[in-house]
């Protein structure tokens, strides 16, 4: 635990000393809950259509695959015409693209970013490294199987997958969403303990709350 997260005694302006426990005082520690869709199916379908047509990707590159996302914004591929946009903050993003191998160090950040997104939210794994570690299958500091750590809705294979493959993948994701099958967030909430245990197994300097609201 980093020192700034340890309990500490502080003295208030009135001279009274009291304890500050950062993990409790500074972070919300409520666990995630399963969120149900709209009660009326047609409404939920409508929302799902909108979700599919408005995919906001978190601009966060984890590995070499990040370089394949840039061309999507260029005139050649122009992902915007499919309702795909990039957002700089996880609060406003729905789609987390794990672009390539994920070192344990980056995993921590990826988890934090993922948990700070609002549900429904989707994860797309890019390239073979996210599926089975790829060429880094025996590396000491990359994870091999992304879906042990966060619920992945879709993998796009390749090393690296070309932008066209990404576009195709996103189209597939849209279909999943429209079909109401992209419920990764709920899956994460349901199997929260399992995911956490997996995550903590590889992240040794766990210096954050269990769920990053």
């Amino acid at each position: 635990m980093k020192p700034e997260l340890l309990k500490r005694m502080v003295k208030g302006p009135d001279g009274v000393e009291f304890e500050v426990e950062p993990m409790r005082d500074y972070y919300c520690d409520a666990p995630p809950t399963v969120q149900h869709g709209a009660y009326i199916k047609i409404v939920e379908d409508f929302f799902n259509w909108a979700r599919a047509e408005s995919l906001w990707i978190l601009g966060f590159g984890t590995g070499c695959g990040a370089i394949e996302m840039r061309p999507l914004m260029t005139p050649r591929f122009d992902a915007y015409r499919y309702g795909i946009q990039w957002r700089p903050t996880p609060r406003q993003a729905n789609l987390l693209v794990i672009s390539g191998y994920l070192s344990t160090k980056t995993l921590k950040r990826a988890i934090r970013a993922y948990e700070q997104m609002q549900s429904p939210k989707y994860v797309v794994g890019l390239g073979s490294c996210t599926i089975n570690g790829g060429m880094y299958w025996d590396s000491y500091n990359t994870i091999k199987c992304l879906d042990q750590y966060m619920p992945v809705d879709l993998y796009i294979t390749g090393c690296m997958p070309r932008p066209e493959a990404l576009l195709a993948g996103f189209e597939d994701l849209k279909k999943l969403i429209r079909a109401g099958k992209a419920e990764g967030a709920n899956q994460y909430a349901e199997r929260f303990d399992w995911y956490k245990a997996n995550q903590k197994q590889v992240i040794h300097d766990w210096d954050m709350p269990d769920y990053n609201w």
Partner: protein
């Protein structure tokens, strides 16, 4: 000029038209921007999808009361601004709620949403939000100045503070527009306009990667939806003021759509051509180029 109940449905009608126009206009403008970069750009209905999606998100968080109220202030500011100014000249129906105040009311009500939004973003506790606000307020404090001077010049020119009267004075041909009767004031105001539209070169306030979009960095879901709605209304409400003061107002909806679009295009064209200013650069730019014009316009009236 007094209140009647019928004004409420009329005002709601204006609101409805403007919201939709704003959504489509926003997307259209983005498409134009995309075409400049030789892309297709977003579909024309993209804003609707985004809005619905954001309303339809299942979770949200809140940092506190002001965080919650921030977007409410913002949208109230946008709607209020729109409704305090008559939209269509000569139409009792679309004079909205302008009986409650004149031009000065509109000018100051602009800040209602800004202030509320700044407070909400402030409560999120995110330093980037605060940095963005710091930049935004700094820039706006100078960008508003040429506009305010121009407005004063125009009010002096027509000897009234009533928007309706100012529009009335510009009727009877294009030569009567303030644009031609008082070009200096209009030039000053339009330079100020560039600064208040949050488009390049004056968009360092919402620098997307440096301070992830600044003030709204913590906003999401339905909060963001409210702000998107406001984003459709507010620029138009603002442009309506410019249109009424400087460009002869609009006597019908088609003219309205056209004029608003063209005025909007001014900032778009400038925006796609020029790179970004730093805050102090833009303040100096306004001080050196726009403010003297505003002063000149006051002196010349």
């Amino acid at each position: 000029m007094d209140f009647e109940w019928i004004k409420i449905p009329y005002a709601l009608l204006t609101l409805f038209i403007v919201v939709n126009f704003g959504m489509l206009l926003g997307a259209f403008i983005q498409k134009i921007g995309a075409r400049v970069g030789r892309r297709h750009g977003i579909p024309i209905w993209q804003n609707y999808a985004d809005l619905i999606k954001n309303f339809g998100l299942r979770t949200s968080i809140t940092h506190g009361v002001m965080f919650y109220l921030g977007p409410v202030f913002r949208l109230t500011g946008g709607i209020g601004l729109l409704l305090f100014v008559p939209t269509i000249y000569g139409s009792e129906m679309f004079s909205n709620l302008s009986f409650s105040g004149d031009l000065i009311l509109a000018l100051y009500f602009v800040f209602f949403g800004t202030l509320g939004m700044a407070l909400g973003a402030g409560e999120s506790g995110h330093p980037h939000a605060a940095i963005g606000i710091s930049r935004g307020l700094s820039q706006v404090s100078m960008a508003e100045l040429p506009f305010a001077l121009a407005v004063f010049a125009v009010a002096l020119q027509y000897q009234t503070l009533s928007v309706t009267d100012i529009v009335a004075a510009q009727q009877g041909g294009i030569a009567n527009w303030t644009l031609f009767t008082n070009p200096v004031a209009v030039a000053a105001a339009m330079l100020g306009f560039l600064g208040s539209m949050m488009r390049p070169p004056f968009d360092v306030v919402i620098a997307p990667q440096e301070i992830p979009i600044g003030p709204p960095t913590e906003y999401h879901s339905s909060y963001l939806a409210l702000m998107q709605t406001n984003r459709a209304i507010f620029p138009i409400a603002k442009i309506v003021i410019y249109m009424n003061l400087f460009f002869g107002g609009a006597a019908s909806w088609p003219v309205f759509f056209l004029k608003v679009f063209l005025i909007y295009m001014v900032s778009v064209i400038v925006g796609v051509v020029f790179p970004r200013f730093r805050v102090e650069q833009s303040i100096r730019w306004f001080l050196v180029w726009a403010v003297p014009l505003g002063v000149l316009s006051i002196v010349l009236v």
